[in-house]
Amino acid sequence: MTVVPYAQLRERTRQRDCSLHEKVISLEEAANIVNDGDHVAVGGCTVSRTPIAMIWALVRARKQGLTLSRSITSNEGDIAYVSGISDHIMTSWFSQGIVWGISKMMRAYTETGRARFEEWSHMAMGLRYRAGAMGVPFMPMRAMMGSDIVGLVDNAQEMECPFTGERLLLVPALNPDVALIHVQRCDRYGNAQIDGLQFMDLDIAMAANKVILTTERIVSNEQIRRAPDHTKIPFFAVEAVVEAPYGCAPHECYGTYEPFFEHMDMYAQISATKGEEGVKEYLDEFYYGPKNWTEYLERVGLQEMLDATRRGRSVYDD
């Protein structure tokens, strides 16, 4: 992944309509914003605030050749490989989650060379997005040196600091073509409010050329203006808004629902025992089969949804 030239970055921003305008569309329309071959940054971390509804829409739209990047990648990475939307994932850690062990799909695809898992340190991923958000081509950092990680990534270079003479590692900016970010609420213009853990989402949003927001609910602009300090992503950085309740299911959305653990256990079981065929059956049942997002949620099931919701809301208990 090469650094986007600054003139191109500025020109792409200049061409965007940054007015305060309504931008609510459907999941299917949002998928059309993503082009084959794009670099798509995925918000959230591991099983938290993962934009599953948009990934679901990209799989159904049969996108190809996407490079995905994320802080830490969970089983949405499996789904990206097996569905064929991506064969290159840049991330710091890739498996469903520690409690589920090593991802069988990650192993199956990377060990045979069918897909690439480009491993950067967690802070390196963060500083790469931050450089992109800052409009500079790289950030210096003091980790990753001396390790073998640096030899397997694209584009990291050591330099001597011109001020102190110290050794530093320069990590290149990421300016994703599209960022997919799920939030608890936003207005029709894309002013997004995020509760709880922010992960790398603010930097991803400001680094990306286009941000597709999915949201648990769309609120009025008046409500946003009553608490502007809660707004984490400004409307002018946002290309599209999609209302997708339970848009992270079966992953977590802070304060709204915890992970759907039974579903996650079921997925882990299928991928471990039935391998790629099992994951393809999972895709047929949950990705290609449903008529729409509501039917997807129906198939995931009301009982699990209520259980996850009860646990999710408990974060506000004393």
């Binding site: 710091s92 491993e119 963060g126 003091r142 709880g196 790398m200």
Partner: protein
Amino acid sequence: MTTDLANRSTDNSPTQRDYTASQLLAVSASRVLEEGQIVFAGIGITLLAATLAQRTHAPGLTILFEGGVIGPFIVPGELPPSTNEQRCTRRANMLVPITDVLLLLQRGYVDIGFMGGAQIDRYGNLNSSFIGDPENPKTRLPGTGGGNDIASLSEIIVAMKHQKRRFVEKVDFVTSPGFLSGGSSRADSGLPFGGVKKVVTDLAILGFDEKTRQMRVDALQPGVTAEEVQDNTAFDLIVPEGVKVAPPPTEKELAILSDLDPERLYTA
């Protein structure tokens, strides 16, 4: 996410008595922590160790989670399943973006980072990326997460099961740097701070020679001989004359661990 996968092995250690190998690891790791320290914890044993230290000798110890959590307070029986979920935020002092919590390492606020790994070598280098040739691996592991950042920028405590296939002559891949090739090689590589403070296993507490940076047995776990430790290690360890035996876990320590993890999710 620091990789604790290596600690999920279910085999029992030869030291097992009225406590499990995992409980022994948690107790030994907690004893290395000091009052007032700021500690980067993973989940599982490392979080239990940090919380145990808070409830015994280090009430003013602060926990950080990689998901962006500063100073959470762990509720007994509600151990979080990862460092990136809402359960990690219970009674926290502050939530920050991931990049900013990791930058605390670089800024020098973090005293101790906790690590696991699939493999470790005599210089404390850790591998959590590849088993076999990285170009054609036998097993692709989940990777560094924040492990490399923590190991590069702070002192670390490694907690892992002591097995010959894990304590190897040379790691297949340096995911998280220890003392690299020993001597001053770590500082020479651009890493002037940090390093491996202790390796805590079910067989021994290990440190590193100040000059050569080779692994050394600092204390044996109760009921373990130096020969046993060497037999379970694929490289030659430094074993000082008359090496001490660590005191076994106390009833109080074990009671606190049971309270924190009543279902023994992490201490089975």
